[in-house]
Symmetry: D2
Subunit: 415 residues, 4 copies
């Protein structure tokens, strides 16, 4: 049973299954596109749109590139038409002149994408289409411009008000869970038994965002561990022989893994909202929770140390912690933003750098990217807005006193 | 229990209920708007958006006009900026120049509306906001232009792929049913007992479209009677003492009432799709159904007869039927479209004029608008697309042979 | 989400609807019964059971009496067979001898009722059958004995572990709500608007028990008002112009109406469990709630005063309160139980007599049965078990100090 | 949508979770039992019942035996009391004398089991308790008698009218699916990937019965393959490289595996009803299905051949088929029932022996138990009742003409 129990009822499904058996239309795809954009499109559109989507799904990369280039070139705005309508609009800002401008200023391919989306299940097809476009279009300005149209529409369709937060548990449908296994990007899930260990124990939680038009596809999900105190090692958090506590007995919720699921939704940001909603939900459900932190990798630390020719004695945990603090608080990109991508994400959400730990991720990946160091970002709902504003406007990084001292010590000692 | 059982889970609701209690922000609304559009908007946006929506809800019409004018004027496109970006774009169609053009060509108020929509429940608030705008903005070009932006966004949000068809029955939630009573626009429902008569008998069906972000609000609904043969009187269809047949024994489905529910969605067309989906669903559920017709009013008939100084002897049913046929098949607007608005809707959907009846609606309204005449439009799924295309491109009206003969006879006899 | 989201799926329903169309069996009902109890019963039982239930539903009272008498006489235990099996059992308590005794000691009509219950929807039919039996069988020992078998089976089927507590709200299905209107037994609900006033305001709640095999039929429901302080007037509690408070702001939950819905479940007690579960649920949902009381009628007060030739000056509220306290605390039946039936119920649940009020129910019924007096019974979860035990074993009535003083004062003053 | 969409709502669950934390009662279990059966039991029963169930769950087998013996001996009927009440009843069949007899004739342990069942989740605990009893009580008459009481209550609780048929698919909750893997008793499921192959392809179906009080536990399930024609090899049916057909294109539904899930429900028969309901459902969903057969093992064939000193040349498929036909149609137990247990089940359901196949199950188990032979039992809804009756009353076995000929040929040729 689908997670949106009755949203797509059996009858509803059956109808579309019937529609799927429509006779195959052999006209060239550009003709189908013209048909869909034409007069009859409003009524016969569903069938034609279905044909186009099916046809696209069967294409190889070369054909897909051809399809995208057709959209990019033949369905672009006409600068002349925009200028003309703009002239008229400036001469008199009327309903008609504004409408004419709007029409001219929007490339027809946006309407095409909207019309394709009429088909049941098309939203997911279009998200995959954009994933292809991002992969194939990197080198071409026209295709990158086309992507802006996809992104513009997706930002509207995947508006926060339309997203639905759902807990993911061992009672979730298997076809959803196999996607959690597939999409986990931070700490790999190796099997169904492994998955059960992430979901079933009383000190584990998982939440995902869904869109009603893609009820079988998580958009992004976060895995949570409930603990006593702020943990300093992901291996300990995941240890099977840990003492499992009852959720209501925990005082800390640890976000130890956040994974985006849809390559085709790159740049449409949900992570910020997801964490804030999960914090609010958990706080409401378990009043004993007082601290909400991540346990996050520091993916850029080793490279930065290398670049700046810094090193820490593997035996000296404090030295590594000092370096990590200094990196997180002071290493900046040319645009003034933090060097570390994970830091940019959490600081951009209004979190603060809370604690750093050595020996916190002793997996090969953890040792390689950050010499085993990890960091907790603290989500304090009452400070998120303030922190975010200072970060966004002044590049100021919120951090605990301990972190500031560590960073200062590092700069003093050059280690 | 809501019709979208788990879509908005208890926990989900609780969070937002908590949020509702946020401290009241006393700044002027334009300052709140600026705040929402500014740097911190991304993180603190939900709270500010909620403030704006609540503030708007408490406004009187004068204040609402002020709010709309602010959006229309201060948040419009800058023609100069558009021209400038267009120039750059023409000089080099790059990703950056296209993005700059897109940004300039979209008025900031569109982004404002999108950001307002982040709040839980905001979609319905925005639909009501547009209803106000349509009511208050009729005389002002700038407000009508603003409405184009609302409409543009709504067309994207209420994309057909996002709509959900739900049967409405006597087992539906009361808070949905009271809206069916309130919104019925064709044949008024006078009480809950009256409503039960429309829903509970085995020869009655009702279907509505919903949007996942407005699960408690039907967008449009259709009432269906299952009959033996095509009926020629709405009073007989609704008669309490009729012989009630079992659905599967019927051979005809009669759409006797279609009502739009949301004034704020005017111009965002769902009726076309609704009827086609209901035809497909009913056909799948009850293979015995072979005929799908409306039983529709002819709202323009009396006025047209008056204007053309035509009249029919009230005793002569055939004369009235001839006139009705002639009106439906030949009376046109200057743009070539049929004079009758209901005819425009169904013919635009690809239906055909099937039968006309005298004495078919003997209510005061029926006698007044069409001397009691009604018409059946036939929905034949296999012909919809063809009919629609000929209607849309050539203004050709699909009609049964009988109707053509009646219309021809009327023209011959001038009655 | 539970796997029961669509416990009664469309397919499931459709199958049984098909079965309903089975050809009518014209054999005498006693022959059908013999058939159902016979060898083929196990496989063809569903169809035969359906016939019997349909046949019964069409009977008049005389025929029903005939049916019941057949069960009572022809399907009774055989005392001789019981004695014989008992003798064998006493000679050797083996598996076989115990099984033989069990078989002999259970009248075949119990197996008949179980086999009738195989049919989809039969549980409700059997509950209505027992309602008929209770109504028609009052005078006949054999029919009352038959009722003991129904009751025995129902106690097993409507075991507390199988009941489901559901909130009833304005979002509940209309076909459930119309039953709430019909079954309300304490303070009548006059219309759908009246019902909405009981369900929709933020200071109202309603809960019902359901059985999974009768999902469309509430078994018992309770209406709750959330208030500040313990109320002393039902008219004030129900006043439309009261100040409506938000649920979470309330400190008191008032159970002002409890109604049994199924006459055929008389003697199968749910009320006790319902109140305790609702107290537990509300306490968990709204931590601000500290007091759980009823606002209950005192149906036997006027008759008792009349019988004992007591009267209270209508102007003297305190005199009436003293009398009411004395009645509730001291008026007993011959078996030592309180004279007042509502008191017996709540005291039996472990509640205590908390406050009495004059002018509390000024409806004609309230004035007639108790001169307008009402009483609050207090449900203190921590004391229920203790109170119940002392009441059940020693007939001791738990009461507040105030009530004891009032009762004592009444006895002193003889008023 | 049914009111049961959230049968086990969050609030509902939370309450019981709270109750779970009750303080531990250290009294001996027999004292707890006495308490539960005593006066206060009605009100404080839930807590005490919970204690007993928890206490039982922690027992080792010796303690469990002690618990069962206590029920068997101390809570048995008193033959003297039964006799006494029977004497009174015979002297006057009144309501009171019948009630007294009923009370005496039912052992108190039945009421104990009913009271234990009040606790949320207790039904499954009691089913497991009976599984223990069946395992531990085989040798003791008193424990086997006790089991009759469990069985008596379970037959009432698991009445067919209370069971719910649910499709099991790859979209079912993982915690249900892991039980399907665990309980599959015929053709083992080796992994989650293996499970997906049984559920996800368009030519596979699976259905299970559930009881509302044990929503997380399937009671029995059947796996179905949709095929063209009646298959003669289970390996071919399960072959991954088979041509997968669309369900609606199939003409045959093959029940290739039926597994009981609950040892504690032994003897409470569901299989009969399950198959008939699944046949009815599939027929309604896919009108193209005309044949409903099993593909069943013949577990007793090899032993029977050995016993009667029969053998078939492994190269001679026809010889094996003749022997299998003869075995199925003629090998009987002393009581006249078929020797083969699977045959007894399907023939008892009213199915007929349809086809036999050599080389149909070439797994080690298949070769060992039946030299690779399998059989199709045909479920023809229109004949089930007739077949069942003749089988049950006269021991007559329904079989196809082909099967009769094969059996006759075998007897002629003695092979």
């Amino acid at each position: 049973m689908s997670i949106f129990a009755d949203l797509l009822s059996t009858v509803f499904e059956r109808r579309y299954r019937g529609a799927d058996r429509a006779t195959h239309d052999t006209r060239p795809i550009n003709e189908l596109i013209a048909d869909l954009m034409g007069a009859a499109g409003e009524v016969s559109g569903m069938a034609v749109a279905k044909q186009i989507i099916d046809r696209y799904a069967a294409m190889d990369d070369t054909q897909k590139l051809g399809f995208f280039r057709h959209l990019a070139e033949a369905m672009n705005i006409s600068a002349a038409a925009v200028r003309e309508s703009l002239d008229v609009y400036e001469q008199g800002q009327t309903f008609a002149s504004y409408r004419a401008f709007m029409t001219a200023a929007e490339p027809p391919r946006q309407e095409l994408i909207r019309r394709l989306n009429q088909v049941h299940g098309a939203t997911h097809s279009l998200v995959r289409m954009r994933a292809d476009l991002l992969r194939l279009g990197r080198e071409e300005d026209a295709l990158q411009a086309l992507d802006l149209d996809f992104r513009h529409l997706f930002a509207s369709w995947f508006n926060r008000g339309f997203l639905v937060l759902r807990p993911i548990s061992w009672e979730s449908p298997a076809h959803i869970l196999e996607k959690i296994i597939a999409y986990e990007a931070v700490h790999a899930i190796h099997s169904w038994d492994d998955l059960r260990l992430r979901l079933q124990p009383s000190d584990r939680r998982c939440f995902a965002f869904f869109h009603p038009a893609m009820p079988d596809e998580p958009l992004i999900f976060v895995e949570v561990a409930l603990t006593m105190g702020v943990p300093g090692s992901v291996q300990k958090v995941l240890a099977e022989d840990r003492k499992v506590i009852d959720g209501p007995d925990a005082n800390t919720a640890v976000f130890y893994s956040i994974s985006n699921c849809q390559a085709g939704l790159a740049g449409i940001s949900f992570g910020n909202l997801l964490i804030k909603q999960v914090v609010a939900d958990l706080a409401a459900e378990m009043p004993g929770l007082t601290t909400f932190v991540t346990l996050s990798p520091i993916p850029g630390l080793s490279r930065w140390m290398e670049r700046d020719d810094l090193s820490a004695d593997p035996e000296d945990a404090d030295a590594l912690r000092r370096l990590a603090a200094r990196y997180l608080l002071t290493a900046k990109r040319p645009d003034g933003m933090p060097h570390d991508p994970v830091a940019r994400f959490h600081l951009g959400n209004g979190a603060e750098v809370h604690q750093v730990h050595a020996g916190a991720d002793v997996s090969p990946k953890g040792l390689s990217q950050s010499a085993g160091a990890m960091v907790n970002y603290l989500y304090d709902l009452s400070k998120l807005s303030h922190n975010h504003e200072r970060f966004a406007t002044a590049g100021e990084i919120a951090a605990s006193g301990e972190l500031r001292q560590l960073a200062a010590a590092s700069e003093r000692t050059h280690a």
